[in-house]
Each structure stands twice: as structure tokens, then as C-alpha cells.
Amino acid sequence: MVKKNIQWLYSELPDLINKGILSAEDSDKLKKYYGEITSGGRQKIVLTVFGILGAFLIGLGIILMLAHNWDAFSRPARTVISLTPLIIAQLLALWTILRHSASVAWRESVSTFFMLAIGSSIALIAQTYHISDSTANFLLTWMLLSIPIVYFMKASFPVILYLIGITCWSGFSQVEIWHAALFWPIFALAIPHVFQSAKNNMYSNRTAILFWGVSICLCVSTGIVMEGTVPGLWIIVYSALFAVLYLTDSLLFGEITGPWRNPFHTVGASGIFIFSLILTYEWAWESIGWRHYRTYGEYNQFAGILDYLLMTALLVIAVCLLVVSIRKRNFFKLLYGVLPVVTVFSYVICGFGENTIMPIILFNIYLFVLGIATMTAGFRSYRIGVVNAGMIIIMAQIFARFFDSQMGFVLRGIIFILIGIGFLAANVVLIRRKPGVK
């Protein structure tokens, strides 16, 4: 349970006991069940963050200083200096495990420095011997040597650096060797740590940060890694990815949490909205499907097979999660999660029939329904944020269509004013309807 909620519950207990709703024994049982709220949590976070930043800056500073004075050293001296940051980091890591294994701040900051030391050692050796090796190879070597640190030191910030590193690697790999097929196995190396953190405490800051890292990494890397031998397959893959992210939260989280603590929900819902908006444009549906299959030079056919596997896996997971939503009768979630079904249907129409108009109409209707349903859900649950989200969806769609069509400025201005009045009116109605508000 979220710590904030436990604090609220504990604050309510004396009042409930006074009113005879709960007995003192029941109150003790509740406190025993949820445990004590540890104080000093904020201080620990500050120590950890400052520790990480300090280690990061020291590591970068050492690299810069060595780079500046590089010319003064002979080659043997440079070789020794190249290995020194790495050896120091290893000794520090060993000392941390032996003496400060319980300290999160020590583990996180030393492991951050350790990871930078590995990269700097390899880079300094490359400079010494004028190695013109590819950036992709450098990043891959650095990341693969660094990931064990996460498990030995039980540290999470290196996972974020790792996810950033492999995302960059995928971009360079596509440019240099025309594919990034290795991305999925190396991405999987970070997942056990994320899983372990979630298992320990689904509502902790650590888990939230890791989930954010994973969500953003997936959203960015998927497009880079996809080979694109079949044009437009990204439409199905991304729609399934966003649906999976969105629907996963109901499996993971038992209670309602804010957008920060539930990145899968936030990224998934935002992705579904933005992606659907993009698919209301004609350019997204042009020249897609197997009729335009790409076989020339830079398209790797083996990596293209991975695109199909990715699409299949994501669609299967999305459908399974949809079935769960149907069983739970969560029709609002179903509406968002049904995006892959709409996409596949549209893709088939467009891919085989070369009909771009039908998908555009379908997605305009879908987006409009999504906006109305979101507003309605917000009204029903008295959540102003959800109502406004629904109105943003509607407004974005109208805005997009306005730039598509030939409407005059005056008419557009009037409609924008009306929509703005609609937003304000909805907020006033909602506030007035909220229980306890006079």
C-alpha cells in the first residue's frame, strides 16, 4: 500500500475509535498488519540523490581532466591511467559491499561511479591507440560490462543509465550495421532487477523510477529497432505496445495511484491518445502493407523476421489483457485497450485494399469516442483531471482537423472560444457536484 495512504488511515483511526466504528483491538490489528511508517524517508532520498549526483559529477570531472592533460603523458603512462579509474571503482564497490551494504546512498553512488569508470577506461584506451571502432561497439561493450553491477550492488540508477545506453546503442547500430536485432536480449538483462524491485514494493519510488525508465526506453527503442521491411508494421506494433502498457496497470496495482507512480498507465494512455491522433492523418496510411515489401540493401531480412515476432507477441499479450478487462467489466479500460484491434482492422483494409480513407474515418470516430468516454468517466468519478483529459482529446482532434480543412479564422476563433467556455463550464459543474462542496 502507498505510504501516504497508510498515513491517512492511521490519522483516521483515533476518530473511528471515538465514534465506536472500530475497537482499540481492531486498530492495533490494523497497525500490526500495515506496519510502522519509517521516518526519515525524505532524508534518505536526499542522501541517495545527492550521492548519485556527486558520483556522476566526480566521474565526469576525472574524465575531463585526464582528457585535457592527455598530451603530456607517454603511451605506457596513458595505458596505466586508463585502467586506474576502473580499479579504484572496483575497490570502492568491494568496500561498499563489505562495510556499507545496508546504505542505499553508498550503493547507488558507488555503482554510478563504477559504471562511468568502465566507460572511461574503454574510451581512454581507444584514444591512446587511435581506435576508430564504431560507437555501437563501444556502447555495447560498456553496457554489457556494466549490467552485472546492478545485481551485485543491488542498485537501480545504473539500470536507468543502462536503458539510456542501450537505447543509444540501438540508434548507432541501425546507422552503422543496418540493424539492432540484439536489442531485445540485452534489454531483457535489466528486467530481473525491475521485477525484483516491484516484488519488494510496487509503490516505492525506486519501482516508479524503474517503470518510467522501462516505459520510455520501450517507446523510443521499439521504433528504432524495428527493421521496417514491411512498411507500416510499426502502426500495429506501437498500438499493441501502448495498449499493453495501459492495460498492465490493472494487473500490477490494486489501488488508485497518481500518474507519477503508475508510468505504464500514464505512458500507455498518453501514447494511445497521441498515436490515435497521428493515425487520423493520411500520410500515416500511405504505401503500407506487404505490397510494398522492402528487400533492398540496408534492410536486413533476418531482423525483419523479428518485427513479426514482436508484433505477434505484443498482440497476444494485448488480447489477453483485453480479455481480463472484459471479465472485470472495466469498459472504460476496454475502450483504450481496444486500439490494436482497430489498428489491425484498418491496416488490413489499407494494406490489401489500398484504401486510406476508411482508416482515417475509423480513427477519427475512435478518437472522438475516446474523448467523450474519458470526459464521462471523469464526471462520474468526480475527477476534474480526467474530465480535462477528455476535453484535451476532443480539442486536439478538432484542432488537427481545423488545420486539415479550409475553415476561416473567425469560425475557428468562435469554436475555440466555445470549447474554452465548455472547459470552464465543465469544471464549475464538477466542482458544484462534488460532495461536501457548498
Binding site: 574503454i122 587511435h130 551485485f152
Partner: protein
């Protein structure tokens, strides 16, 4: 206590692997520099907008393509071995490529940029000469001036051994850059 020993043991194994990679790089390059055969490669100017100013001199070699026998199919991004020998002027010439490690002769690893029928264009592993960021722009300027068609007297020496190629020195007007700008190699 037993757990601690186990963890320390695993840590030491990890450290050994992490040290082994940079040490392997150092040993491999040092052996090539000490025991490898020296080749000279003529250089050509690099488009200044491509060069990363300040950290290294961006290099380009005059010959970066090679003939390909008809029965060999190459794809972009593929690793190959470029076979070299000296021409009559004493400069290196790429005479062919091989998918597998050749049994004899001098060769180094390169990557296929693109293959076009019976010719292949290669990405060579010596495109950067690292030096002090304050000296690199002037050195790069001099290198470019001395790599023009009418004044081509810039070249690099590369040591080649068992598929590994390491830049030894950059020469401008027959003088090593270490003498011109006091740079340590």
C-alpha cells in the same frame, strides 16, 4: 560469513572480466604496434562538417574500395578482412577482401559500407587520430591542406598484424605530427 565469501568470490570474478576487456585491448594493440608490419596509406581531405572538432583529426584514406570476386556476396554492415600489399611507391594498396580470415599475407578487419556488383566500399578502422583538443584544429587544417590533389604529402603509417590495424603516426610533409605540434604518441 560463508555468504560474504561467496559474494566476494563472485565480485572478484566480475572484476577479472571487467579488467580483462580493456587489458585485452591494450595487449592486442601493443603487440600490433611492436610486431606488426608497417604500411603507409595516402590520405584524402575530410569534409570539415563531418569532423568532430577539437578531440581528434578526422582521417580518410585515398583507397577505401576493393574488387570482389563474382562468387562472393557481401551485405552492408558485414565484417570482412581487407587484404593489402605495397605498391611500387611504397604505399599500401587494398587488393581484395575475404569473408574468412586469410591464411597468408597481410590483412585487417574492416566493415562493408556497401557492395555494388564486383566492387565493395569499406569502412576502415583508422579514421581518427586523437590529440590535444587545442592542437587538433590546427593539425586538422594542415592535414587537409596536405591531402589535396595538387599537394598530397600527408599519409598515415599503420601497423598490421593478424587482422588488427593500429595507427602509428600521422605524417605531414614527411614530418610526424608529434614533431610538428609536440604531441606524444
Amino acid at each position: 560469513m560463508k555468504n560474504n565469501k561467496y559474494i566476494i568470490g563472485l565480485f572478484l570474478c566480475l572484476f577479472a572480466v571487467q579488467i580483462a576487456v580493456p587489458v585485452y585491448m591494450i595487449v592486442n594493440k601493443e603487440k600490433t604496434l611492436v610486431l606488426g608490419k608497417q604500411f603507409k596509406f595516402r590520405t584524402v581531405p575530410v569534409d570539415p562538417y563531418d569532423a568532430f572538432r577539437g578531440r581528434y583529426v578526422a582521417l580518410a584514406v585515398q583507397q577505401d574500395s576493393a574488387p570482389v570476386p563474382g562468387d562472393i556476396k557481401l551485405v552492408s554492415g558485414q565484417n570482412v578482412y581487407a587484404c593489402i600489399e605495397e605498391d611500387k611507391d611504397g604505399f599500401a594498396k587494398i587488393i581484395g577482401v575475404s569473408k574468412g580470415r586469410p591464411k597468408e599475407g597481410n590483412y585487417f578487419r574492416a566493415r562493408v559500407r556497401y557492395a555494388d556488383g564486383n566492387k565493395v566500399r569499406l569502412d576502415l578502422p583508422f579514421t581518427r587520430y586523437y590529440m590535444d583538443e587545442k592542437k587538433a584544429p590546427a593539425a586538422e587544417d594542415a592535414y587537409r591542406k596536405h591531402s589535396q590533389k595538387d599537394k598530397q604529402d600527408a599519409y598515415i603509417t599503420v601497423r598490421v598484424r593478424n587482422g588488427c590495424a593500429v595507427i602509428e603516426e600521422l605524417y605531414i610533409n614527411e614530418k610526424p605530427i608529434s614533431e610538428l605540434w609536440g604531441h606524444n604518441t
